[in-house]
């Protein structure tokens, strides 16, 4: 009987709701009891967090000689061109081979197990992809500004598997950020832990926060100066490989401006809690909680303008990832719709199906070109605020649409795990919605 709910079921529903949110219970109308229960709950939630014990690594402070090394701007030819340089093509092809030979195959298992399979991690380390944003002068592999290179590489990796791409390149984002914004001392202290014999297991760029309508320019995480230190308080959500990470770059509001701060995982007051999501499973996302975390004031990374630059480069990285996975979608559905038959002919012979594939291709290509344009402007040292925002908006609008088409075109087959499509659907939802994690 619609519209009539029995008392028993009302209670049951209240009870169910209480599991999620105790605030709904009448017994808690009394403010004092409510405070007590909330305190308990908070402690309970904290129990979920664990101090970063995995983080034994000591980052011994070093002094860099002279000024910081920066990637030099890539000169432009003054010609409209869509051809990558030979170096870029080489790196892209290496990433493509890795995607086809390793990532695509491993994607399903990584999604199930929420981690990078050992063989994949080894192969990735061998390729040295995490150093594509670090200049050669700092023992990285970038000859010059590398946003375009980064976009091409992320595109290929995500064509293999998006969440593995995030798991692998999340670490690269920290190396790239220190190369782009770090002082000579910061570069000398931290970059050898990426370029050296014993690289960090993982590092993470933690900008995202849990609240809805999160605006990265107004983070709730705050930093307060205390003598020679900064004291950080706040929560970062969906941090890639938070448990494994030995080094974090977090954003925090300092003197009314959003800034980047380097935080070592061993810092007191830093806690990590598992934070699984609908996708990005291989990146084993975690929530980072900072409670009165003290770091040296020298850990402030770059300026407020650099923080803004990091947001833009991160959004562009997501756009490149969206391009790659959307390409995987297109490659698969174009075969599927001419092989699958219904009503006596391939379903691709019907306009409703064929036009959907055409729309995927059109929006994908537009997004790719917008991403390349913004990246090329960054490399040329030009302002790219608008171009990055365009790529971001196209990602927001179309990556999800393409993910949805990917499932819809296969019908029930798209919904079951027999095909990659349901995973693409889940992973593509992240690309236009999340901030941080990756950077080019």
């Amino acid at each position: 009987m619609r519209g009539r709910v029995s008392t028993a079921s009302t209670l049951q529903r209240l009870g169910l709701r209480a599991v999620g949110r105790l605030g709904g219970l009448r017994a808690l109308a009394d403010p004092e009891r409510r405070r007590a229960v909330e305190g308990l709950l908070r402690r309970g939630a904290q129990a979920g967090y664990s101090a970063q014990v995995a983080a034994g690594r000591a980052f011994v402070k070093r002094h860099g000689s002279g000024g910081p090394a920066r990637p030099s701007p890539a000169p432009r030819g003054g010609i409209f061109d869509l051809t990558p340089t030979e170096d870029q093509a080489m790196l892209r092809d290496a990433a493509a081979a890795f995607a086809d030979g390793v990532l695509r195959e491993a994607g399903r298992e990584a999604d199930d197990s929420r981690g990078i399979p050992a063989a994949v991690a080894e192969a990735a380390a061998e390729l040295g992809l995490t150093l594509i944003g670090v200049p050669a002068a700092l023992d990285g592999i970038a000859e010059e500004a590398s946003a375009v290179t980064g976009a091409l590489v992320l595109e290929e990796l995500a064509r293999g598997d998006l969440s593995l791409a995030v798991a692998i390149m999340g670490t690269a984002s920290v190396a790239t950020a220190i190369a782009l914004y770090g002082s000579a001392d910061q570069q000398a202290t931290y970059l050898p832990h990426f370029t050296g014999e014993a690289p960090v297991r993982a590092a993470a760029l933690a900008l995202q926060e849990p609240q809805p309508l999160f605006d990265p320019l107004a983070p709730r995480t705050v930093a307060v100066r205390d003598g020679e230190h900064l004291v950080l308080d706040g929560t970062k959500a969906l941090v890639a490989r938070a448990v494994d990470a030995e080094l974090f770059v977090v954003s925090a509001l300092l003197d009314g401006e959003a800034r980047l701060v380097i935080v070592e995982a061993s810092s007191t007051g830093l806690m990590v809690e598992d934070d699984p999501a609908m996708g990005l499973r291989a990146a084993h996302t975690g929530r980072l909680r900072l409670e009165s975390v003290r770091v040296p004031a020298g850990n402030l990374l770059g300026s407020a303008a650099d923080h803004l630059d990091a947001i833009r480069r991160s959004r562009l990285a997501w756009a490149a990832l969206a391009v790659g996975t959307s390409q995987a979608v297109l490659d698969q559905v174009r075969d599927y719709v001419v092989e699958r038959t219904a009503f006596g002919e391939p379903i691709g012979h019907r306009q409703a199906v064929a036009f959907t594939v055409a729309d995927i291709a059109i929006e994908l290509d537009g997004l790719r070109l917008a991403t390349w344009r913004a990246a090329a402007r960054l490399d040329a040292g030009k302002d790219a605020a608008e171009e990055v925002a365009i790529a971001r908006e196209l990602t927001r609008a179309y990556a999800v649409q393409i993910g949805s088409h990917a499932v819809q075109l296969l019908g029930g087959h798209g919904f079951v795990k027999e095909f990659d499509n349901e995973r693409w659907y889940r992973d593509l939802r992240a690309t236009g919605a999340l901030e941080g994690m990756v950077l080019i």
């Binding site: 003054g78 990558p84 174009r334 055409a358 291709a361 290509d365 990246a375 090329a376 605020a385 365009i390």
Partner: protein, 405 residues
Amino acid sequence: MIDLEVPRRLRPLVESAAAMADEVFRPISRKYDRAEHTCPTELDVMAALIDGMGRSGASGGAGATGAAKESPKSSQDKGIRNGANLSSVLSILETSRGDVGLTLSLPRQGLGNAAIAAVANEEQKLRYAGRWAAMAITEPSAGSDSGAIRTTAVRDGDEYVLNGEKIYVTAGERAELVVVWATLDRSLGKRAIKSFVVERSNPGLRLVRLEHKLGIRASDTAAFVLEDCRVPARDLLGDPEISTAGGFGGAMQTFDNTRPLVAAMALGLTRACLDLTRELLAAEGVEIDWDRPGAVQSAAAARLLQLEADYASARLLTLRAAWMADNGIPNSMEASMAKAKAGRTCVTVALACVELCGATGYAERELLEKWARDAKILDIFEGTQQIQLLVVARRLLGLTSAQLT
């Protein structure tokens, strides 16, 4: 090296076209919207200017005449070219930002000129140089299905005799030449379709009427009847033989070059709408913040962000199609992608801008309502949205026109 900016060499051309849009087209835009079928004589001087730009060599071609396919290069030749297709797209975008109807009325810049540039032999190109050519494909019972046209061409000595009916001929009244599609033998289907250059003064080509339209009223749209219209045989464009393959395809190749141009018109109109709407909304305190998520901005700002993103996507798809043509890379699919995206974007944006500006958008005091009327044709002529999607899908899926109809 990947770079998607307007090349330095073409910037002066773009600036000249932009000046023409602002200083010449805009001031007379409303006048010719109201005075439908009146020839905008102000444009004669402009056409001379564009001819000059084309000849100067500095621009590498400005208008529709410039768009021609380059032959594929040898693998040794690594030099990337920004040529006539790109410059045409960029300059047409600017003039269309001024006014699409007036752009279509620019003497010697007709779509027929683009067809001639695409498929004519060298002797023909020389002979038709400097003359304004319109394009006549559509018939009362054959629009998108251009393979189904009924106008016939029968060989008679050194001439062809054309009979049939043509409608929706842009600039048909004002042009000096009309490129007419006709079939040599209806029983042989599409491959028997050829295009003929007919002198506007030919007594067999009779103007029946000019259409009254939703938009682009500055541009005349003519209907003709061809009655025993005798055309010299040398005015058949391309190969006169009915080959088993590639005949109709040859005629259709025109579209690979003209679709990016029409996409550019749609982009120009879209740009006009966005520029004015952003100006009007800024006066109301609404501006896009490029660095904040749309969801934390006002609904109007978030909507503008969406519209700008679709514009940028359509623009880059169009520049890519032109870049491919300039570098001898086959671009049928990419030309249709550009036209599809630009066509639907211009309609969406123009209508959204009317909505965002309310009464100011809907009333005739501003040009927004006119642009919203002009926009619709850009998703129709030179191949409707649906035809573009068919072209794209057939290419993507490797299907023939018989399999995917």
